[in-house]
Every structure is written in structure tokens, then in C-alpha cells.
Symmetry: C2
Subunit: 352 residues, 2 copies
Amino acid sequence: MQARANARTNRQWQVARLPDSGGLTGGGLKLSADVFGQGEVDVPEPGAGEVLIRACWFSPDPMNHAWVRGMPGKFDPIAIGQPMKGGVAGRVLASNHPDWNEGDGVTGFLEWQDYTVSDGTDRLGAPLQRVPSGVPLESGLATLGMTGLCAWLGLTDIGRPQPGDVVLVSGASGAIGSIAGQIARIAGARAIGIARGRAKCDLIASLGFDAVIDASEGDLAGQIAATAPDGVDVFFDNVGGPMLDAALLNLAHGARVVVCGATAHYDGPTPVTNHLMLAMRGATMAGFFYFDHVARWAEGRRRLGEWLAEGRIREALDIAEGFAAVPDAALAQFEGRAAGRKLVRIAEDPFA
Amino acid sequence: MQARANARTNRQWQVARLPDSGGLTGGGLKLSADVFGQGEVDVPEPGAGEVLIRACWFSPDPMNHAWVRGMPGKFDPIAIGQPMKGGVAGRVLASNHPDWNEGDGVTGFLEWQDYTVSDGTDRLGAPLQRVPSGVPLESGLATLGMTGLCAWLGLTDIGRPQPGDVVLVSGASGAIGSIAGQIARIAGARAIGIARGRAKCDLIASLGFDAVIDASEGDLAGQIAATAPDGVDVFFDNVGGPMLDAALLNLAHGARVVVCGATAHYDGPTPVTNHLMLAMRGATMAGFFYFDHVARWAEGRRRLGEWLAEGRIREALDIAEGFAAVPDAALAQFEGRAAGRKLVRIAEDPFA
């Protein structure tokens, strides 16, 4: 073991400086490339009860921003010079843990470095998740990972689409929105996706959404009204701001608004003025914090895994290649350049 | 009958012109006195199955504004020269209806005139409501009327306070807020009221709220944090805008936000920027439309009636005297001059 590990290089992305931000509410969320600094550390040795993981994929999520800065009661801030953390998919290279074998596919919230050891839990204290045999590692971060589970949790537990409902999804070409719309269709609802620009709209259409609205054409409220003349039963919102305002004006009676994200906030505060429509339409708007719902993850992974295997959910992946691509891939999300699930392949799957 | 009715004068408040407004969402809601015009009509005669009602109290509600302009699918606009409609409490003077007797106390959504006939339903098609014997007519519009029921419905069905919860009420000196806070205390919660200025804050304190925040002292978010250091479990919001933003920053995990009204909108659009806190705190924000919950009214009236009789709910009434006082009483609500339930006494109770 010792010799093999030492022969390896363990590259690491670190926090070089804290991102400028007023936080998730109102202050803007923009990352910049100089937040990321590259370093190199020793390849760790798995001790008793530990596994050595070879990372193959990193997941640059908007939440990385919050993780760097910390969230009171949830995460401590990451100190300058310490490793960046985020979603990682990889393979178990060596295991002293009874639940894990060499070659197992694994995902978790871990340091962004080539090689990591774990006692079976990730850096949030959650159990490492197994990527089922036959499923590509990247699907463990996409459909079976945080973004797929966010789509499933938000739509299933808050949106609760019924057959025949109209489900409107903003940011529909994104990692979460693209899955949410497909789950809505599986539930028998009519899925309408909103995205900005022809390419993203074409992507949504290719995933089977029933209708597509191009936000770059303006008049969001009018476009939604024309596409959903009887109103929107479920609005799955990844955008906030004027998008949310336009959807609020078009809610059907008893509608449910799922507050999943707010990309509109990345550039600063984006107010909403139509919240009183919740009263006018007897509607509900609710958010969920992913890490509060650990108990639901297993069921979500099982359902999503079945739908993926049956071809009822298709993954739209936006893959960046190579360790050096991480900062730009993270920025791409904040700049609207990602279409589908943004992932960075930092190494080939050694067991593929 | 004929002779007696003809001897009376039947004054009527009419819609003289439509109020300026962009509607409930964003356009401002301000009434002006010249929206109201006074007229006089014949005293109607109750036909077969009808009752003749002597109106004693009018209820100038913010919703009157919407009623004048109409609400798609709910109310047609009131035409120029037609009678204003709103909450009315009065006495049955004559009855050809099997359910009603002379002297019965009655409330309903009716024309604002001295004498009205009804077939047992009001102008929204809802049954006329009986004011229980021994209860003053004005309580039929206050605690047992729309405002009391809105407080009960919103708090009970959406807020769902548990013993020990912190319930924050904005516009707490108002018709709805003052009742909502008292219901929260009956449920075993700690009730914090927010109002603007010393007089209104003193009013809240006199109703038994556990703590009072004076909005005129500024730093709403800081004041809420200091008063509810463990967060707000239920926010019953009558204000919207910066008030809602401040409360959103202070939600406890799993909090419920009741969207009851938005007085901040009376002067124009008042944006909210912190809605993403719903996701951070796994919180729910929901509104309700009073007229959708007719099936719950009877239970609400029964409970509120018991609490009123037991002295567990005290009414804060802000009474304007005389038929001519109607326009100013309506404007007072939009200008923040009302403290408690604003009512206009247009005639003495003939059976008091």
C-alpha cells in the first residue's frame, strides 16, 4: 500500500480567498476564479476502518459558494489555504471498511483532491453513497446525486404534481430543472420549461418537456399565460426575481411554488413583488434544505435509479475535462454558461 | 308594511368613480374620498321568502377596494352609480323567511345602505350569518366576522402554532392582527406583535401580547432577532415588503409564513428579496382566500364566539360615528390611522 500511494500525485483545489458576497439573501453570489488556488498534498493512507477513494468527478454546484463561506448551524467556513469541498464521485481503491470493497463506486461531499480517505462518512457527516453497479460514476453525481435528489424532493414533497397538472420549471435546462421536468411528466403532469436562449430551449425540448418558453424573448408573464391558459399548478423555481413574479401572476388556484434556487440572485438582490398572489390564489410557496431530508434520500435514489435505467429520465450532462477546468466550470454556473448538469472529469474511471 | 317602509329614508353609498390602482399586485391600492358618492333610494319591500334588514354597522375593509374594481372569477366590478358593497351588521325588521325572525342580528356582504332586502343570502351568494343572541352587532363584524375569521383561518390552518412556538404578527394592532396574536396565545404560543408608533404598541400590549416591537424605531430585522433569538416559528403577515423581508431573515427552521395581507402595497409595489430563506430554513409561505373556506366558517365562529364570551379574546374597536363617516373610515385604513377593528356605526341598534 505505502509504495503505491506514494507514487501518486494528489492535486488539491484550495480556497485562495473568500468570495465577495453578502450571502444568499440579497448580496449577490458571484464567484471569481481567484477564489480557487491549486495545491498538492500527500496521498493519504487509509487507516483502520477507512477507505481510500480515487476521485474521478467533481461537481461544481452553486452551493459551493455557500460552503466556502460557511452557513450558521450548517457548515463552518473553509479557511484560506484549506481544501475546497464539494460533490465528488470516485472509486474505492483500498478498503479497511466492512461495507466497502475495492472498485466500489462512491459519491460524497469531500475534499476536491485526487485521493481522499474516509471512515465511511463524508465531510457533512452523511454516509458515503454507493453508485450502483452498472451506473456510470457521473450519474451518481447527476440523477442520483444532490441535483437529482433536489428535483425529486422538491417536486414530490412540495410540488406534489397530480395527473393533468401544469408544472412550470424555471432554469429548466439546468441540473435540477432538467430532472424536475422529467419527473413531472412521469407523474402525469404537463411539463413546461423556461430557459434562456435557443440552445437551452432545444435541450429542454429534447428531454421531452411538453412546451418550452424562451426567457430571452421577454414578456415572461404573457408567455406563461399563453402556454398555461388555465394557470400553473406547480411552479418549480430555480431562478427567483422577475421569473418568480411572472409565475406568481399565473398561479392556478391552490398552486404550489417550490423554492429550489435563485440564480437571479447571483448578481445581487432581485426583488419579488407579487407574493400577495399566494393569498389571491390560496397558494403555497415552500423551500427545502437538502440536508434536512437525509431520511428521504434512499427512496429518491431508488426511484431515480429505476427511471434512469428504464430510460424515462435522460441526463443532460455538461462536462468539463481535466483538473484545471474546475474554476471555470464553477463560474460557468453563475454566468449562465452551463446547460444541463455541469461536471468536471478529473480522471478516468479506473474500473471502467 | 308598506306605510312603515315608505316613511323611512334609505341613504346609500355609491361608487362615484373607480379608484386609481394597478390592482393588488404592485400598483398600489389607495382609495380616495371621491370614489364614494352618496345617494338615496327607495326603502325596499321584502317579498316572499325575503327579509328586510336595518343596517347599523358598515365594515370598511381594505378588500372593499378590490370589490369595487372586481376580481376575475370572484367578483364583477361595481358599476359607477351602483351601491358600494361590503360588510354590514344589522337587524331583521321584517321577515318572510322561515329561518329569520324580526329582531335577529345579522351580518353579510351587502349594499351599504340603511335598508336592504335579502332572500337569506348575501351579495356573494353566501348565507346571511346570524349574530348570536347576547353578542353585540359590531362583534358580528369584528371577532365573528371576516377579520376574526381571517385571523383564525390563517393562524389555525396555515400557521399551526404549537405550544411554546414563537408567533410574530405584523400589523398587530389591526383588525386581523390583534385577533391573530390573541389566538396564538390561546394556542400556547408566545405572541410578538409589531406595530408602528407608541399608541398602537400600547394597544397590542393591552391585549396581552407577550412582546411588542415598534416598527417606527427601525432595524426591524435586528429588533425581531433580539425579541425572538431562537427564531420565529410562525409569521402572520399583514404588511409585506420590508417587514416580510425582516421576518424571513429570522425564521426558525420549518417556519410557516401566513400571507394574510400587504398594507405595504397600498402605496405601490414593495418588493421582497429574502424569499430564498424559505429554502434555507425549510419554511413554508402560504396565503388563503377567505371565500374559499366557507366550510370552515362555522367552526371558526363557534370557537371565536366561545373565546369572546370567556374573555380570552378582547376586541379593539376603532369606531367612526354616522353615515357620513364612511369615506374617511375607509381611507383611514389605507393611511394607517386605524387602530383595531375599524367600524362605522350608521344607526343605533333598534333592538338593543
